[in-house]
Symmetry: C2
Subunit: 324 residues, 2 copies
């Protein structure tokens, strides 16, 4: 079978590609080919004859038609302009996140191959005046353009599924921590920074207080979920093609305690507390209480503990060693 | 002030235009000008110097830019391809209902005038696996392309509102009965037919059983709601810019009883019962139980009784007389 990952040069795309190549299968199908499609160059991927890198811009319909012409059986749609960028540049956000998704589902429709498609949505579809606990039937009231575009993507996937053009499924991802690399402009960047920088011997800035909280999932678990979502039979999703992935909500205090337990006091002391009222206000507006019985019934799983998430980062990104 | 109604040659658009011209005001503003924009010709409108008819296609961005250039303070967005047509022609549905809405909000953004905008969404945004009662916080799981496009339109309106380009509000309309004219291809067409044709001395076909039910609102009340939605201060809607209008759910048996009470046995006998399993299945999938406390708090109102809806049709469409 042939697999396509849009946004395949990104954080999650690369990890997913590596996992798929390592597994060699999706369900009953042997993976013969994995195409990574991205506007950015893909670096640090395993050398593998099954892997093909395609560079191109999802905002251009012709590019999508060329990309899909050879035929794919399983498509992961991860390409996106993330929240800070989509908020700063409304045209770019709509072009990539809405039009890009539409180009993809239209190209899928054009070739009539009816592939499975897993779309990476986000818990950013929730926001504003929310019920105290977000459940499986809570309405989507995004308070960012990114969240609005993800919600529209879910609707497109569900509609093109219903029309029989593909077998679509959307997963709402929690914030994935620990994200490797450098801090970015996302208001959530500290949630990775406060682990990542101190473990690398560097200072991290934490702009929020110890009672701030975040709904999170680890990189390994999100890759598990993406694989599982593709392997589940279509009926498992029924008429509602979207679901919120199980994650766990941790306070900053719990994050710091877990880091100290795994890596010691010295490491934790590298966190510099610099309250930023703007970021605090944004973060305070994010939903933190989720109930995801449907996803749990379908076998999706959250991490067991924060300690495990920290350990995972040390193993997967730091070669097993941190700066004590 | 200048008012624009897209889809202004349609059923609701014409009634709204007549009401606005008659009132002469919206909130504190005197209505100096009403533009009706539609791809179809507008017929049967009052001769009024304040009224301008503009013919054009909302799928063309240039048309929208020309339309909005003179500046409008209040915009009603009613133009749409309705459910049967959007389902039969997916390209047309997305072009008018999604791209058309996007062209409108983009043109609004382009001129920077920040008008109020009321968007006519639909309870067709609900469907599929639903909770027993649809409340103010129930997720949107449309089972038609039309419903999906309306849900995307709501997200666009909310996002362009949040970005400060306009003051947007979306109303989810129940099925409006009694709709004048002829039966159409909508699976709900019988809900108007069983009143309209018998009152005009003609036979009506009812394809569903007496226990089938429908969530409805009358033409007068929907026009009331559109006026009220435009007059409410922005804060009334808060962070959630959409709401489901209060309606009432009546069974076919109740509809027939109300018709008999108002118009007599003879009229009711003109209903021919021709069960159609396809239509019965579609109708059985529609939500019927709604709770709309938020809209009620904001002063939106359902009709008092079915009898009143029948009387209203006789007064407004039949000049006060029906064929007994
Ligand atoms: N990481 C998270 O915490 C998180 C949380 C919720 C949802 N998601 C979603 O999961 C997906 C993957 O996230 P990620 O963390 O790997 O993000 P990422 O930014 O690392 O990857 C996204 C990729 O999309 C690519 N892309 C952007 N514009 C493109 C264009 N015009 N054409 C083609 N490719 C384009 C980028 O180059 C990037 O490589 C995204 O859709 C994201 O919105 C991520
Ligand atoms: N009537 C109902 O029961 C009901 C229920 C829920 C929602 N709504 C919504 O309320 C609005 C008005 O409904 P209605 O019953 O008056 O429908 P209608 O079909 O009578 O009016 C819609 C108008 O939009 C116009 N239109 C279609 N394509 C266009 C295009 N490309 N460019 C410009 N105009 C175009 C049509 O010509 C028509 O006059 C619609 O958005 C509809 O979806 C209606």
């Amino acid at each position: 079978m042939r697999v396509l990952i849009t946004g395949g040069a990104g954080f999650i795309g690369k990890k997913l590609a590596a996992r798929l190549l390592e597994r060699g299968r999706l369900g009953d199908g042997r993976i013969d080919h994995v195409t990574l499609f991205d506007v950015a160059p893909a670096e640090g991927l395993p050398a593998d004859p099954r892997l093909e890198i395609r560079t191109g811009d999802i905002t251009r319909m012709g590019v999508l038609l060329d990309l899909l012409r050879p035929g794919h059986d399983a498509i992961y749609h991860l390409a996106a302009v993330v929240s800070g960028a989509a908020e700063a540049d409304i045209d770019l956000g709509y072009a990539v996140n809405l039009d890009g998704t539409r180009h993809l589902v239209e190209a899928v429709r054009a070739f009539g191959r009816k592939p499975r498609l897993v779309f990476a949505s986000s818990v950013a579809v929730f926001g504003g005046d929310m019920p105290e606990v977000i459940g499986d039937e809570t309405h989507l009231t995004p308070q960012t353009s990114y969240g609005a575009q993800k919600a529209m993507g879910e609707l497109l996937v569900a509609d093109y599924h219903r029309k029989g053009f593909m077998d679509g499924r959307s997963l709402r991802l929690p914030t994935i921590v620990v994200r490797p690399g450098r801090p970015n402009k996302a208001a959530s960047t500290w949630a990775s920074s406060i682990f990542r920088e101190p473990l690398a011997g560097q200072e991290a800035v934490c702009p929020v207080g110890r009672d701030a909280a975040m709904y999170v999932l680890s990189p390994r678990r999100v890759v598990d979920a993406l694989v599982h979502a593709m392997e589940l039979p279509s009926e498992a999703f029924g008429m509602t093609r979207s679901l919120t992935l199980p994650g766990k909500t941790y306070s900053v205090a719990e994050m710091v305690t877990a880091l100290e337990r795994v890596a010691g006091r010295n490491v934790v002391d590298r966190i510099r507390w610099e309250p930023d009222p703007v970021i605090q206000r944004i973060v305070a507006g994010w939903p933190t209480r989720f109930e995801t019985p449907r996803a749990e019934r379908l076998g999706f799983q959250a991490d067991d503990s924060l300690e495990e998430i920290v350990q995972q980062h040390i193993e997967d990104e730091l070669g097993g060693r941190f700066v004590a």
